[in-house]
């Protein structure tokens, strides 16, 4: 047996691994005695405790057995090697029905929302464009803070300060950020920390909405929010959206009594529209009159590219708004954490909901996040991301019309990390998306954002993962791929026809 000093694995693991592979290859026979720990330690030049550790691991994994006083031997009837059955056993009759929640869940999964294909999401990751990635500097900072916070004394302190709604310090630091940067109104006790947006939204829905109540949403809206809202078994009322955000006149003309309204006024998903100031006022008045609870989703409003930021709506009537803000996604454990500011009237019930059914954000993450906000690293990274996205967005807004001309119709994309556009093309949606993927652009159809059928030939391009230098290359490649596809399709079409109908003037562009 040889040990590799350069290996990333600890020595005891290497020893255990070597013995395991010897057993599997058969060079150590079943039932064969192993050298005593002391002898092996001497032979390898390591300490005895290291060998002991390896033997203990092997013991608990069922590779060896130990008899007191007689040393260790390879297990005779080794059960450790095994395979997972890959096919499911015959599905037994589902004798007892599940809950009504589960039933609506399964019906939703199958029909209305094809996007719940969670395993498909996994496969899509090979192009990183989907993500809003943290800059490396933030990752390094996180590591640095984690090493500082991962100490017994600090953890013990945190354990004492544990609270259902999140560590007090974290909540107060984040609230002061929200107050400053988003003009949110509230006190510390009104803030709750959730580990994800879905969970937060779900909890809120459940304490506000009974089956059959009316819930209004922007149409289109973020797909995961749509899924969660639909699962509350509420009646969903889709409200159209234009370049100035949600159509408030349409909403106020509705005869229904709307219990909850979910919207993102500062950064509509996916179009990136911002609610105009007239509409904001009208909306607040309407909600006040009708007693509608407004769930204001303020996610990605940090990334606003207009002349000046619009403050959160929540300030206009703090008693009627529930404010949600999710940290930008990425790989760090803080990504997706959601802060919720609720009015006083909901404090008691949300507290109880979180205590009994929801969970707690891991304390270590809370500690590190607190430090990250306190030290200003968090805001700095937001700012640097915003600058980067702004440049990329400006570039794309210029490039896309240039390449596609009148065939493309761009959304305002005043905020967020995505651009929505509709495209006139002879190809199917899937073919267009396949072309984009081949060109390493993160393109999706907007269908999953809509309630009901959705629009054909409308796409979302998320640009957070792109870098400025490769954009032009990727867009150009995308256009070439599209042209190739079109030409393949039209083999049967007469050549003259083809030239007349050539979709994109790529040659002209190349010359220019």
């Amino acid at each position: 047996m040889t040990l590799d000093q350069a290996s990333p694995y600890p020595v005891h693991r290497q020893i255990a691994q070597a013995i395991k592979s010897a057993v599997i290859s058969g060079s150590l026979a079943l039932g064969q005695m192993l050298p005593s720990m002391r002898r092996l330690a001497e032979a390898l030049g390591v300490s005895r405790s290291t060998v002991q550790r390896a033997y203990e691991d092997l013991l608990s994994q069922g590779y060896i057995e130990t008899t007191h006083g007689a040393g260790s031997r390879i297990c005779r009837a080794r059960q450790a090697a095994r395979t997972h059955p890959l096919v499911s056993p015959p599905v037994t009759q589902s004798a007892r029905p599940l809950s009504s929640y589960a039933e609506s869940l399964l019906s939703v999964v199958g029909s209305v929302l094809p996007c719940v294909d969670y395993q498909c999401e996994l496969r899509r990751v090979d192009y990183q464009c989907e993500l809003c990635q943290e800059p490396d500097s933030l990752v390094q900072q996180y590591l640095h803070l984690l090493e500082g916070q991962c100490q017994l004394s600090l953890l013990q302190e945190a354990e004492k300060a544990r609270a259902v709604s999140g560590l007090n310090e974290l909540r107060s630091h984040y609230l002061s950020y929200l107050r400053r940067a988003r003009a949110v109104d509230g006190t510390e006790e009104q803030v709750f920390v959730f580990s994800g947006k879905r969970e937060a939204l779900d909890t809120l829905c459940r304490i506000l909405v009974d089956p059959g109540d009316c819930v209004a949403v922007e149409n289109p809206t973020a797909p995961h929010a749509l899924k969660t809202l639909m699962l509350s078994q509420a009646q969903i009322v889709p409200v159209p959206v234009d370049r100035d955000g949600m159509d408030v006149d349409w909403l106020t003309a509705l005869p229904h009594r709307i219990k909850v309204l979910y919207l993102s006024p500062s950064c509509h998903k996916p179009s990136g529209a911002v609610l105009s100031s007239d509409r904001r006022r009208a909306l607040v008045d309407w909600a006040e009159k009708n007693g509608t609870a407004i769930l204001e989703d303020d996610t990605y409003s940090e990334f606003t590219y207009g002349r000046s930021l619009t403050p959160a709506l929540q300030r206009e009537a703090p008693g009627g708004f529930i404010y949600l803000s999710t940290l930008p996604s990425g790989i760090l454990p803080l990504a997706g954490h959601t802060f919720v500011v609720v009015p006083h009237s909901l404090l008691a019930v949300l507290m109880q909901a979180k205590r009994l059914t929801g969970g707690e954000v891991p304390l270590l993450n809370q500690l590190v996040l607190t430090e990250l906000i306190r030290g200003g690293h968090f805001e700095r990274s937001i700012r640097s991301r915003r600058n980067r996205y702004e440049a990329i967005r400006a570039h794309l807004m210029k490039l896309l019309p240039l390449y596609f001309g009148s065939k493309i119709n761009l959304s305002p994309a005043l905020a967020g990390t995505e651009i929505t556009f509709s495209l006139t093309s002879a190809l199917t949606d899937d073919a267009v998306i396949a072309c984009a993927q081949a060109a390493r652009l993160g393109l999706r159809s907007t269908r999953s954002h809509y309630l009901g059928v959705g629009k054909a030939k409308e796409f979302v391009l998320s640009f957070a993962g792109l870098d400025e230098h490769s954009i032009e290359h990727r867009v150009r490649r995308f256009v070439i791929m599209l042209n190739n596809q079109v030409s393949q399709k039209s083999v049967a079409v007469a050549r003259a026809d083809y030239q007349a109908s050539a979709l994109y003037p790529i040659a002209a562009l190349g010359a220019g």
């Binding site: 009759q93 869940l105 939703v108 969670y118 354990e159 459940r206 000046s308 909901l346 909901a353 891991p362």
Partner: protein, 482 residues
């Protein structure tokens, strides 16, 4: 540092005046608190897209209005003592909130408010002190994944039921330690214990459903069932686990059987396992099996393995022992779903579940793969055995025949039978005053609870324990215990 200011769209005032007014408003509204730093002029100018000199000018104006103060070399701050006009706005905001009617909450919320207040936190059974040996390796694993983020990035849009490689590791771990044979897709990861139990209840129970629940069981389980509107039918235990005759005598159809595999309640015998499984097969009821204690070695008889290990009915939902001993480093927990429910769990996680942090999952995976988890568990087991012996020694020394101690293997707590006529609640209160972690077993029972049974958690410090027990016993004696 970002600050949002409200510049009027059309105004005849010069820009620096507009900005100064807007900043005053922000301070009046308490969006910037006294003593807080102001954003640097450069940052503000950049985010508002105006020239820096305009911002400098408006800051000067605020200085002269008495809103700001400067500390040499460290920037500009909101003045810490402000008496004038300040705070008017906040009262105004309070007014704004008042006249609104409170929202009508849902029926679920009403049930929530009526549930008995839960204890939180409940992880008293493990002490943070015991984490000392793992901190270093925990940090090392984080460093491994944060220094080289490639793997994490490749998983970034992660699967809502957990990263595949982690679930495979868990499946292997469950096989090694508990002889549970499952496909990684059946393993569902949760970011904490509560959300796991709540999802199980949510998927299975509609209001009014019957559930047969072993009695005693942890109060959290009973609470959660009641929040979901399920009706609990308590089934007593005997020497070999759940009382089968009693279970068979329930005449109405029940949806699930809830079992807790903890140590002071004795393991299910082979015969009983067969009965429970047959019952589940015949009636289609699910079995919710929760394990309380993480086991390390495969030692012991087959009776110690969970019901799930010999399951062929595909009705068992196995809630594996949480990794609470790693709290507050990590709070993830897992369940093994039956095939027929795997899809429902995955869909529920995708639609409503909490997000799992990618790197944290990778760290946990490596922690288990490197054998560190089992190593730590073995260490804890040795430690808790030692502590238990110590508690038993101390309690018997002081109380002698008044006390009867139930042996328990592997568990953190010692179960004490105290024969006295002091009410349980008083005994618990006295223990709390003496700094002991003691809880009455009676709150685990639904119907006639046995009196005088307590669980004592040794805690981590030997001296504190000795002192605590002595004060406790003195108090008990003062209350009339002979």
């Amino acid at each position: 540092m970002d600050l949002i200011v409200n510049l009027p769209p059309k105004s005849f005032l010069p820009l620096h005046r507009q900005l100064a007014d807007a900043l005053c408003e922000a301070i009046d509204q308490r969006r910037l608190l006294p003593g807080e730093p102001m954003p640097s002029t450069r940052d503000l100018a950049q985010s508002l897209r105006i020239s820096r000199s305009t911002v400098v000018r408006s800051y000067e104006e605020l200085h002269s209005r008495g809103y700001l103060e400067s500390a040499h070399g460290s920037g500009t701050f909101v003045r810490s003592e402000m008496s004038f006009a300040y705070g008017k706005q906040t009262e105004l905001n309070k007014e704004k909130e008042k006249p609104r009617i409170a929202f009508a909450v849902s029926a679920f919320a009403v049930r929530l408010l009526h549930a008995e207040p839960g204890q939180f936190p409940d992880a008293a059974s493990y002490s943070t002190d015991d984490l000392a040996p793992v901190l270093r390796s925990w940090k090392r694993l984080w460093r491994r994944h944060l220094k080289n983020t490639e793997e994490a990035r490749s998983w970034a849009a992660s699967n809502p039921i957990g990263i595949e490689s982690l679930r495979k590791t868990i499946a292997d771990f469950l096989w090694r330690t508990r002889r549970i044979h499952c496909h990684p897709d059946q393993v569902i990861a949760f970011s904490n214990k509560q959300s796991r139990l709540q999802l199980v209840c949510r998927l299975l129970f509609s209001p009014g459903d019957l559930v047969a629940v072993q009695d005693p069981i942890s109060p959290e389980v009973r609470q959660m069932l009641s929040v979901y509107g399920a009706r609990v039918v308590p089934v007593p235990l005997d020497q070999e686990g759940i009382n089968i005759d009693h279970l068979l005598s329930i005449d109405k159809p029940f949806k699930a059987i809830c079992l807790a595999n903890d140590d002071h309640n004795g393991a299910l015998s082979r015969e009983k396992r067969r009965c429970v499984r047959d019952l589940a097969k015949r009636t289609g009821a699910f079995i919710i099996e929760e394990e309380a204690i993480p086991y390390t070695t495969t030692g012991g008889s087959a009776d110690r393995y969970p019901l799930r290990s010999s399951d062929d009915s595909d009705r068992v939902i196995y809630l594996s022992a949480g990794l609470e001993m790693l709290s507050p480093l990590m709070m993830m927990s897992f369940l093994v779903a039956p095939y027929s429910l795997q899809e429902a769990f995955a869909a529920a996680k995708a639609c409503t579940g909490e997000e799992l942090a990618t790197i944290e999952q990778l760290v946990l995976r490596d922690f288990i793969e490197d054998g560190l988890l089992e190593h730590h568990l073995r260490g804890l087991e040795r430690l808790s055995n030692k502590r238990r012996c110590h508690v038993i020694h101390l309690v018997t020394k002081h109380l002698g025949r008044r006390v009867d101690i139930e042996s328990s293997f592997g568990s953190q707590a010692v179960v004490i039978n105290l024969s006295s006529d002091i009410p349980d609640s008083e005994v618990v209160q006295m223990a709390q005053e003496s700094g002991l972690l003691l809880s009455a077993l009676s709150n685990q029972f639904a119907c006639p609870a046995p009196k005088g049974k307590f669980m004592l958690f040794p805690g981590s410090s030997k001296d504190a324990l000795e002192e605590g027990i002595e004060t406790w016993i003195t108090k008990l004696r003062a209350r009339g215990l002979s």
